[in-house]
């Protein structure tokens, strides 16, 4: 491991949603750990052993935790490797990623979980946490080795994009995982209504002649999932809520005190179905983009905290999988490198308070998964992002570091430039 001199980042605007602190201060990093957080403009007397870095009033916040990332490793390395995803994450201020199990082979046994952890250790960029498959092959039929994968280091189990259609199977997965303290993430989408769909039903999809799924397919599956969570007492992660109707169901469950946490994706916060425009396949994501009413409802749910976690839903797809007719094109969008500026848009337009926004990508997912990251606290790993919150940038997909360039944000004007990213005190990215 690289030896890094103890460093003090002074003259910073500290943003720490875990404590609610937004103000001047300094962070002292020793041996990869936050040795001290000094709040206030004056850092006081600093040890002469420290390298002093004056950040000139820029924002210093905990590195982002993105709990829904796909790479192509193992099995589809031309799309994305753990290394290329790590580079993109570092450039985007994301210091911890949770990779999805639907690789080739599927991460449904401890060997694959172990492989991913070892690869990540060798690459030494950002923290990589595997999610294990909930069922063998993510096929929704037989339980995967949840306990063994948990011991190997998986942070939750999920079948990723594929809903578990058989209620009996999901009931067993929830009940079994609960006994091991393992979280289960499940995509709420009725598989029959969703079959073959490329867009959300409505005027737009109808006019464009696109095969579509009614938005209500999300609520239908979510209602079942919530009932099974209640029955088993398991902790359920709702993998991406994207519709107003499903939010009503979620609210009822939360009001009753059910242990359920919902995520949404930056894509569904930033785009609606009309962005598909003239069949832009970069806007084909799963679940499909929704109506503007749904998008507004989801933004509001993030603002109120009803949706606790925002994910990039990073899903690389190379040009040959996207340069196809819309219904044949692969779904998915890359998002690691654009997550922070895209999220900051809601701060800049005065829609969601800054700390509340940052919470959804730092301490909220970290606490949910039991990770030590996501906070500016003494003893926490020195995963830090230095960011110029106001700096304007135009996203150029070709310049993003992912191997695949399928970004729907291409050409978008955003604010928020990552200047430097540290993982365990090591600088893994520095703006050129």
């Amino acid at each position: 491991m690289t030896v890094v001199r103890p460093t003090a980042f002074v003259n910073a605007r500290l943003l720490d949603p875990a404590t609610g602190y937004d103000g001047p201060g300094a962070v002292i990093v020793v041996e990869g750990v936050i040795a001290d957080v000094v709040k206030g403009a004056d850092p006081g007397a600093l040890s002469p052993d420290l390298e002093i870095v004056d950040v000139g009033g820029k924002a210093l916040l905990p590195g982002l935790v993105d709990m829904r990332v796909k790479t192509g490793e193992p099995g589809a390395e031309p799309k994305e490797t753990l290394k290329s995803a790590g580079l993109a994450a570092a450039a985007g201020g994301v210091t911890s990623i949770v990779v999805q199990p639907d690789t080739h082979p599927v991460a449904d046994d401890p060997a694959v979980v172990d492989f991913i952890l070892r690869r990540a250790r060798d690459i030494e960029l950002v923290h990589v946490y595997p999610a294990g498959a909930a069922t063998k092959g993510c096929a929704g039929e037989r339980m995967a080795e949840i306990g063994l994968m948990h011991d190997a280091g998986c942070v939750y189990v999920t079948d990723a994009d594929r809903p578990i259609a058989n209620s009996k199977v999901l009931q067993r997965v929830l009940a079994y995982a609960k006994a091991f303290g393992v979280l289960v993430a499940h995509r709420p989408a009725d598989p029959w209504l969703s079959a073959g769909a490329a867009a959300t039903s409505g005027e737009f999809a109808g006019r464009m002649g696109l095969p579509s799924v009614p938005a209500i397919a999300e609520k239908i599956m979510l209602e079942r999932d919530l009932a099974l969570a209640e029955l088993t007492g398991a902790r359920l992660i709702v993998d991406q809520i994207t519709t107003a109707a499903a939010l009503e169901s979620l609210k009822r469950a939360q009001d009753r005190g059910l242990a359920v946490i919902a995520t949404t994706s930056i894509n569904h916060l930033s785009f609606n179905e009309v962005d598909i425009g003239d069949y832009r396949t970069f806007c084909k994501v799963d679940p499909p983009l929704r109506s503007e009413d749904d998008r507004q409802a989801v933004i509001e749910a993030v603002a109120t905290g009803q949706i606790g976690v925002v994910v990039s839903a990073h899903a690389p797809a190379p040009a040959e999988d996207k340069r196809l007719p819309y219904d044949e094109a692969a779904p998915g969008a890359i998002g690691l490198q654009t997550l922070l500026p895209a999220l900051l848009a809601f701060h800049h337009e005065g829609r969601i308070p800054l700390l509340d926004l940052i919470r959804t990508v730092t301490c909220a997912p970290a606490d949910l998964l039991g990770l030590p990251a996501g906070r500016l606290a003494k003893g926490a790993p020195a995963d830090l992002v230095l960011c110029d919150l106001d700096a304007p940038l135009v996203i150029d997909a070709d310049k993003l570091l992912s191997k695949s360039k399928n970004s729907p944000f291409d050409g978008r004007r955003l604010q928020g430039k990552v200047l430097r990213t540290l993982v365990d005190g090591r600088t893994v990215y520095r703006a050129g």
Binding site: S201, G202, E203, A205, G206, R207, M208, G209, L210, P211, S212, P214, D278, Y279, E320, R323, L324, P325, Y326, D327, E328
Partner: protein, 325 residues
């Protein structure tokens, strides 16, 4: 606006500025362009009825038919249209060539584009395929049907058939009946007929109607008798038989009972009603032979004739732009 059909020489003596490189969607057109295309097509109808049918408007030009879905009538209609205007016509059916060896749509198009065609006529099973192609090639792309999206030359030939039958399109009541959900013919016709001032109704069972079709500016009916009541034109859509067996409708006979066009239901329409169908018909499923073959009522044969003329008008307009470029 009841104007007599202009003669061929008169039409060809006029200039038709057509500002577009491609012919992808009726929504790209405006009313003046459509009126010009219809006038031009009228002239070609006269030409096609002569003994000598050949012009040299497209002499030296190459037209390529690229049909990813089989279609005898549309493909031969374009082929005839191209040949009568003097173009060299090549028919490609990728189903039997490289596309089945894993080549993508765009690879195929780029390969064919390198052979320097001037006009590329494309039919594909995916919505948006023609628009996608048009971004990747240097020739003019004509959409001959993209998935469930559009079939703009069909809408043009339908408009031509209606204008010749009624002398006008504005104010006509047109009921489009059947499988609207999967129909590119319906989508193109709704767009064009609305532009030309017709009142459009969509008629069909809820399972074959797109979500929120009522927001298209049309009236939606699930009861066919009410839907066709007082209509000047009843346009039937083709129904794929595999959707009938309990999938989108319980059975063929049940579908015919409620949504098949027979004399009894047609009696609710206006006395002078004309019946249309883009073909090929499923007799006894969506339309009764007695209605389809009644020449006093049916425009179905006219539609086929107008198809060649309408496509000649599109090819000639696009080629005129190529000449000026």
């Amino acid at each position: 606006m009841s104007t007599p059909a202009p003669g061929l020489n008169e039409v060809l003596g006029r200039t038709f500025p057509f500002p577009r490189r491609h012919f992808i969607s009726v929504l790209d057109l405006n009313e003046v362009e459509v009126a010009n295309l219809l006038d031009l097509a009228d002239g070609f109808v006269a030409l096609n009825r002569q003994t000598s049918k050949k012009l040299d408007l497209l002499k030296g030009r190459t037209l390529m038919n690229l049909f990813f879905e089989n279609s005898t009538r549309t493909q031969s209609s374009f082929e005839l249209a191209g040949k009568r205007l003097g173009a060299d016509v090549v028919n490609m059916s990728p189903r039997s060539s490289s596309i089945s060896k894993g080549e993508t749509l765009i690879d195929t198009a780029v390969t064919l584009n390198a052979m320097q065609p001037d006009l590329l006529v494309v039919r594909h099973a995916s919505s948006g395929a023609a628009a996608l192609l048009s971004q990747k090639v240097t020739c003019s792309v004509i959409n001959a049907g993209d998935g469930q999206h559009e079939h703009p030359t069909q809408a043009l030939l339908d408009a031509l058939s209606m204008r010749r039958a009624f002398g006008r399109i504005a104010g006509l009541k047109v009921a489009i009946c059947g499988d609207v959900l999967h129909s590119r013919v319906a989508r193109s016709n709704v767009g064009m007929l609305q532009m030309l001032g017709a009142h459009v109704r969509l008629v069909g069972p809820p399972t074959l109607m797109p979500a929120q079709a009522d927001r298209w500016g049309v009236e939606v009916f699930h009861d066919m008798r009410k839907g066709v009541a007082g209509c000047d034109v009843v346009m039937m859509l083709r129904l794929q038989l595999e959707r009938m067996d309990g999938v989108m409708a319980p059975s063929q006979r049940e579908y015919f009972r409620f949504y098949g066009l027979d004399r009894e239901k047609l009696a609710y329409a206006a006395d002078h009603v004309r019946v249309m169908h883009p073909g090929p018909m499923n007799r006894g499923v969506e339309i009764d032979s007695e209605v389809a073959d009644d020449l006093a009522v049916s425009l179905i044969q006219d539609q086929v004739e107008m198809g060649v003329a309408a496509r000649m008008a599109v090819l000639a307009s696009l080629a005129a732009r190529l000449d000026n470029a």
